[in-house]
Amino acid sequence: MFWLIKFAMCTMMPRTDALPGIADTDLDGFLRKMKSESEPLYWTGLVLGALVFVITPLITIGVPLPAFFLPMGLLQKHAERILGHRIYLLRQSALLVRLSAGMCWGADQSVRARFNLPPYGPDPGTFRTS
């Protein structure tokens, strides 16, 4: 399901002249980690959010195609509309994808450097064992 999530995230956070996109970060590593470490409910919500993103162009822009097949202009329009859709569940599912993308993007060293922020160290995941 990584490809599905990556597609949605890369659409939402593309590279621009001013900033790296999420594709410029270690998104694969992030998703691998998230899949193995997150609560099943969270991961399921993320997969469903990405799936909803892909299958709803008919609802958002009236085009009966999965989002993969949309040209860039229409894809951006679809992304914009689903995040602002009047159906709460639709926009919330897309919001979960965007929030998760933001966690990956905003923690990346090259992105943080653009904002004059120090790089993050590792998340050790350690705890007292005795």
């Binding site: 621009t16 993007w105 905003g106």
Partner: protein, 503 residues
């Protein structure tokens, strides 16, 4: 005595102490240290692991994984899905909060007495005396100049210009450096979260800490609580480990949190119609201000400014709150090139929040998977309050010199000019239009005189049971309208002193 962490499947781990305290957050840790100082042998049982500052994560992802209950994926069931944020490690939410210390307002004790038959001036005097002690013990101090940061200063400037009472925060922090990392745990060890002081003191006084140990059931002999049981759970693999049984010679104190304490009582067979009822919260939401010069909101105290000028009427409090880039990135509205363009302005954003003193009452129930399900939808009156709070925040940004206001409300423009903030007065009253979180929770095991309407009495004793006490915010029967940690700790100490006096 000792700290026992995760134990793999094998022989059952058994211990016996005078008192067993379930949970190690503001209530549990304070109750435990108070009993330990009184000469009792105390075991603290915590579902999460014990992490020290070197173990703390740095990223938002790491904080969700290592510090939040259920990865922060608990949310309200109702018209809107609003996340419920709670810590799940030794020290509880005191590790991940902004360490804000606010005395319990006097009107709260009057309200408790009037509506629930508990509290009143005697309790008020006792709690305030305890809060004096807590402030000394945990180094409560105003945010020092060096740690203020521009966001907090701008908030002060804006509120002064609008003309309402406001102040820099009093916090349980010793020598804050303004690292802006309160929400991921203070790696520089300045914040006085309770895993750094009270819990180690319990150990020094002969107590025990059992971590990675979610309690599944309270044990009873007749109607007397005599211990707890559960199975260890590994913090990373989530695998179950050995069974543990910790027996209590004198009593069990439940401080597992507003969402977990009621479920634990219910699963343990405690009969009381009020269990899970009376859930309340401070739902909060932000408004961003966009400034000409960089604000760099992550420089300085995470929450260094506040106002309770509107606490009584209309009913909200205001605070600064700095979120890290990896949280803001997904929080700023928009997508694609538009989102990336907006994110270039990150350094120029200041974020301040309103937290509504909501009167809505919800309920904590058990979901299909045994996890807490909080049923809660803000009433229209509360949404009016909520919206009014956002308007005041926006007006404060405008008065502080923001060149634009970012309300982040569905159905509203992305940016408002300073002379357009009045438009917020017409913002939607549908909770689904807002991205809000619930951080301050109350109720579920509320205290009161009437056993039909409350779970415990004004000394925290569960009605109809011996040796079973509540010691966390689940006992608080009303919304405080101020940050609750100081009240939770004072209540836990007040009740623990009562236990000692009876022993």
């Amino acid at each position: 005595m000792s700290h026992t962490a995760f134990q793999p499947p094998g022989p059952r781990v058994e211990q016996e102490f005078d008192y067993v305290v379930i949970g190690s957050g503001a209530g549990g840790a304070t109750a435990a240290v108070t009993l330990a100082r009184g000469g009792m042998r105390v075991a603290v049982i915590e579902a999460g692991p014990w992490r020290d500052p070197n173990d703390y994560p740095q990223t938002v992802y790491g904080a969700m994984r290592d510090m939040l209950d259920a990865w922060g994926s608990n949310f309200t069931r109702g018209r809107a899905f609003w996340p419920i944020v709670q810590g799940a490690l030794v020290g509880g939410s005191t590790v991940i909060n902004s360490a804000i210390a606010v005395r319990t307002p006097g009107d709260i004790f009057e309200q408790w007495e009037r509506d629930h038959g508990v509290g009143g001036p005697v309790m008020a005097d006792a709690m305030w005396r305890i809060q004096d002690d807590l402030e000394r013990e945990l180094h409560v101090e105003e945010v020092p100049e060096i740690a203020l940061g521009r966001s907090n200063r701008l908030a002060r400037k804006g509120a002064d210009a609008v003309g309402y009472e406001n102040h820099y925060m009093m916090r349980y922090v010793k020598g804050c450096r303004g690292d802006g990392q309160c929400l991921q745990g203070c790696r520089s060890d300045r914040k006085q979260s309770l895993n750094r002081n009270y819990i180690p003191e319990v150990l020094k006084r002969g107590g025990s800490v059992v971590s990675c140990a979610p309690v599944t059931r309270i044990l009873f002999e007749g109607r007397r609580a005599v211990g707890v049981t559960g199975k260890f759970r590994h913090p990373q693999t989530k695998k179950r480990g050995a069974e543990f049984v910790v027996r209590a010679k004198k009593g069990v104190l439940v401080a597992a949190s507003v969402t977990r304490s009621p479920l634990l009582l219910a699963k343990s067979g405690v009969k009381n119609r009020a269990i899970g009822k009376g859930f309340r919260a401070h739902p909060g939401a932000p408004v961003f201000g966009l400034y000409d010069d960089p604000v760099d909101m992550n420089t300085g105290a995470t929450q260094g400014w506040a106002s309770i000028a509107h606490r009584e009427k209309p009913g909200f409090k205001l605070e600064s709150l700095s979120l890290p880039l990896d949280m803001i990135a997904g929080r700023v509205a928009g997508t694609g090139n538009v989102l990336m363009e907006r994110l270039t302005e990150f350094r120029h954003l200041a974020m301040w929040v309103q937290a509504c003193r909501a009167e809505t009452v919800g309920e904590v129930r058990s979901a299909w998977n045994g996890q807490p399900a909080v049923h809660y939808t803000l009433s229209r009156d509360d949404m009016v309050r909520f919206r009014e709070g956002l308007y005041i925040v926006a007006a404060t940004h405008a008065a502080a010199g923001a060149k634009a206001i970012l309300p982040t409300i569905y159905g509203m423009p992305y940016k408002l000019l300073p002379n357009e903030v009045h438009k917020l007065k017409e913002a939607p009253l549908d909770p689904r239009a807002y991205i809000s979180i619930l951080s301050h929770l109350f109720g579920g095991c509320v205290m009161g005189k009437d056993p039909e309407r409350s779970v415990c009495d004004e000394r925290g004793r569960v009605h109809g049971y011996d040796g079973l006490h509540i010691a966390d915010a689940s006992a608080i029967p009303t919304n405080l309208g101020v940050n609750p940690q100081h009240t939770i700790m004072a209540l836990a100490r007040h009740w623990s002193e009562g236990i000692l006096a009876e022993a």
